[in-house]
């Protein structure tokens, strides 16, 4: 059964509780009950606010923003790790998530066994995984090391295996965090070729990265995040420009008013402003 892939977020809001570190112990909890720590209250940090977009077949979205802008949080929310505080996410189609190289791997087991482990997590049967194994072995290029525990792998080896596994299970929606930009030049080149070969017009890609070159090469839309707010959902050139100007400490309002004043129409007729 093939579904037509779709990924949409509607007014997604995610908040992190900040009260955790201080009030985790009994001592303080009991102190609070007795009135000793009155007034600390609960603090929350808004991690994402009002994120809305709809991606359909062929949409390849790059998520950009400074450190702490909420890129990884958004990736994890789209994957279902974090549940939004408000808003809705609808994801239709087989998904492959690449949060980090060794995502979901058991370091004590061999690379070979981890292929099956990851496959099972993705809901595949043993015979389905069997079909992928040669492809994975070929790309990961680990030789006999594939039978050694993942614990003993170098980070490059782990990245190759993780990447090979995640991209071998044919998915329709690929959601990746920026680790892919790491690794040695040969691996990055190989990974890029593979992603390009893997893609077809029907797939959806969501990629969070700091590397402008990756966005230019793979994406056709850019979502700019700033302190968890969706600043713009626009074309690649404009999006990267807005992001880089934010990194240069230019005030967000002036960048956006600049764009609106010049009547730029990068995507579906508008630049979506921050707080709307």
């Amino acid at each position: 059964m093939e579904l037509v892939p779709r990924l949409s977020a509607t007014n997604v809001k995610v908040t992190f509780p900040l009260h955790i570190a201080e009030s985790r112990s009994f001592k303080i909890k009991i102190g609070q009950l007795l009135g000793a720590h009155r007034g600390t209250g609960r603090k929350y940090k808004s991690a994402l606010n009002n994120i809305s977009f709809t991606l359909r077949s062929g949409d390849r979205l790059g998520i950009v923003g400074a450190n702490g802008a909420g890129k990884s949080t958004l990736i994890k929310t789209l994957l279902g790790t974090y549940e939004p505080e408000a808003g809705r996410i609808i994801r239709i189609g087989k998904v492959a998530g690449l949060i980090s190289a060794r995502t979901g791997m058991d370091p004590e087991r061999s690379g070979y066994q981890n292929i099956y482990r990851r496959g099972m997590q993705a809901g595949l049967s043993r015979t389905e995984i069997d079909a992928f194994v040669p492809k994975i072995l070929e790309f990961a290029d680990l030789g006999d090391d594939i039978y050694r525990a993942v614990r003993t792998y170098s980070s490059g080896m782990g990245a190759r295996l993780g990447f090979a596994i995640a991209t071998s299970m044919s998915a329709q929606i690929y959601i990746m965090d920026e680790w892919i930009g790491a690794g040695d030049a040969r691996f990055v080149e190989k990974a890029q070729e593979r992603i390009e070969a893997m893609f077809n017009e029907e797939h959806i890609l969501v990629l969070a990265t700091h590397v402008d070159a990756l966005i230019k090469r793979w994406c056709n839309k850019v979502l700019v995040l700033h302190h968890g707010e969706q600043i713009a959902l626009t074309g690649v050139t404009e999006g990267l420009d807005i992001k880089n100007r934010i990194l240069d400490n230019e005030p967000v309002e002036s960048i956006l008013s600049d764009y609106n004043a010049n009547n730029v129409v990068p995507l579906q007729g508008k630049v979506i402003g921050g707080q709307t």
Partner: protein
């Protein structure tokens, strides 16, 4: 939404949709419908049960990786403990009754099961590794997997329990098979308690060690190696009557001594199970979404 050549009627569409959700092809999370999110979490336990069992087996295999005896080490532990107690019992307490061997063996094996289920349960949501599988997380899967792990360890100890029981006690009727409903009842009490401990344990990091200490206390107050009959009736007997571990031990140990546990034990455990599940469902539904931030 679906690419198909022929037209489908409503019911078939609904079936396809359900399968797609089970295969994780459709994922919907809506903050306005928290009930639906909780249900989708719980339903993964049914949809992925086979995979969860395999993961539980993997956990045990991983735990004993690169050791020669592997999981059989849990068996060795039991044998050593029982042998030690036999020496103590025979020479210090002058117990010559052979059924005492069975009593202690079952006591130790089932106590270890209860202990590790609750101790692991209290810490099961604190491991951040569970948070990074890269897929839609299921918090309902975690206690089930934890229980499967402990049932496997229990199964590894089964040869000792059955061996000792068959050697020292005559199994000439079906009474001994009562350990099956007994074990089911014990498991049905332990799972909800572990869920509640696990959720609060993730938030309050003092809880897991506190639970371990309390269980140590429970070990001495429970008739694991001392005889329940040695407690006089009346007020002292409250130590047993108010002790849930006593009722649990009774329903799983008595059958191996070829005795029938009094009905009251079953009824008390049934009550604890129903109460436990009620609280567990409320706690789980209320706090499930936040566990990830606590982990």
């Amino acid at each position: 939404m679906f690419v198909t050549s022929e037209k489908l009627d409503r019911r078939e569409l609904l079936k396809l949709r359900q399968r797609a959700i089970a295969e994780r092809q459709i994922f919907i999370t809506d903050a306005a419908k928290p009930g639906a999110a909780t249900w989708s979490d719980v339903s993964t336990v049914f949809n992925r049960f086979e995979a969860i069992v395999k993961e539980g087996v993997n956990d045990i295999v991983s735990r004993y990786r690169r050791s020669f005896l592997g999981p059989l080490w849990s068996m060795v532990g039991t044998i050593v403990f029982v042998a030690g107690f036999m020496i103590l019992g025979r020479f210090l307490f002058k117990i010559t009754d052979n059924t005492y061997v069975v009593y202690v063996t079952c006591g130790v094996v089932f106590w270890t099961f209860i202990f590790s289920t609750l101790a692991e349960g209290a810490g099961m949501y604190t491991n951040p590794a569970t948070a990074s599988t890269g897929f839609h997380l299921s918090f309902a899967e975690i206690p089930i997997r934890m229980m499967i792990r402990n049932l496997i360890v229990l199964l590894l100890n089964a040869p000792i329990v059955f061996g000792v029981s068959l050697f020292f006690v005559r199994w000439d009727n079906w009474t001994s098979l009562l350990f099956i409903p007994g074990l089911i009842l014990v498991v049905s009490v332990l799972i909800p308690v572990a869920i509640v401990l696990g959720v609060f344990g993730a938030r309050l990091r003092d809880l897991p060690p506190a639970v371990a200490s309390l269980l140590q206390f429970g070990f001495y107050l429970s008739p694991v190696f001392w005889l329940a009959e040695s407690i006089p009736q009346g007020a002292p007997h409250l130590i047993l009557d108010l002790n849930p571990f006593y009722h649990m031990l009774q329903v799983v140990r008595k059958p191996f001594l070829n005795e029938i546990a009094p009905l009251e034990h079953y009824l008390i455990l049934l009550g604890l199970s129903l109460g436990g599940w009620t609280i567990a469902v409320i706690v789980f539904a209320r706090f499930r979404r936040r566990i990830i931030y606590w982990a």
